[in-house]
Amino acid sequence: MRACALLRDAASEQELGSKMNAANPDDKPEDESQLTSPASRKPAPELDVRIQHAIGRSLQAHYNDLLSAPIPDRFLALLAELEAKESRNGE
């Protein structure tokens, strides 16, 4: 009887867990990042939407700036070499 109840509890807990993953467990602290960042133990406070957007724009400016760099020749040469080697082997 007790075991049954325990099983039921475990099952519903699991169900709850997967529901929460599917839904929005935003502020739920999770173990893993507590390991890597002790300062992040406290749940993140709700940031003003405008701040979120400003940070989003800065992230994109950072990334797009890197994206705009020309592709170094070494990568094109590497891939050309790999392809040439493969077609030599294939013949």
Partner: protein, 198 residues
């Protein structure tokens, strides 16, 4: 590649070429992601090279039609955590890394903003930084980020939230009044100066 032989089956060549083209088209994203997580352009290009080599050797494990960026980012990230991170991040030089690009910003002011933002980004815990880059800049979904990092979507969401909060803190943003009328971050220069000075 003689073009007079076997015109019935040009497929291998076509597929091969398109796989190479796919890889080439992702190089800018690979470099941007690699530089963001490793904090060094030198490391970034070594990482990209390793990633391209592995991708080439494992083409069979790529599902055509699926998101090649997510696939390549997974390879790159695994490579980073298994090899490069062990070398340590002491090579990191946030002032120098991106400088060649920063000078090309349209205005001096936004160049400074970007430089300050990068210093703050470099100070984030790496799990938060990579997730912000993945979902906030690289165009990948939360679900793809979760697959790449091998964690649940909820974990990605909470890392994004914590990362944003930490960035706001590092940039000295306490309220919406710190955001300029053009939505740039006003408080950046004054605060980060103190935080970053070594």
């Amino acid at each position: 590649m003689a073009n007079d032989g076997a015109p019935e089956k040009p497929k291998p060549t076509t597929d091969q070429r398109s796989f190479r083209d796919l890889l080439i088209s992702e190089i800018p994203n690979l470099r941007a992601f690699a530089a963001s997580i490793s904090g060094s352009m030198q490391n970034a290009d070594d990482l990209v090279q390793d990633t391209l080599l592995k991708a080439w050797g494992h083409e069979a494990s790529f599902t055509p039609g699926s998101n090649i960026r997510a696939w390549l980012f997974t390879i790159l990230r695994n490579t980073y955590y298994s090899i490069y991170r062990k070398r340590g991040r002491e090579v990191q030089d946030t002032d120098g890394i991106y400088s060649e690009k920063v000078v090309q910003r349209p205005s001096q002011e936004s160049a400074m903003e970007l430089a300050d933002f990068r210093k703050a980004l470099a100070k984030l815990p790496e799990d938060q930084r990579e997730v912000l880059i993945l979902v906030g800049a690289s165009g990948l979904s939360y679900e793809e980020a979760a697959t790449i990092c091998g964690v649940a979507i909820g974990t990605i969401k909470s890392r994004v939230n914590r990362g944003r909060a930490k960035l706001a803190e590092l940039l000295g943003i306490t309220g919406a009044e710190d955001i300029g009328p053009d939505h740039t971050i006003l408080a950046a220069s004054q605060t980060v100066g103190h935080v970053v000075s070594r």
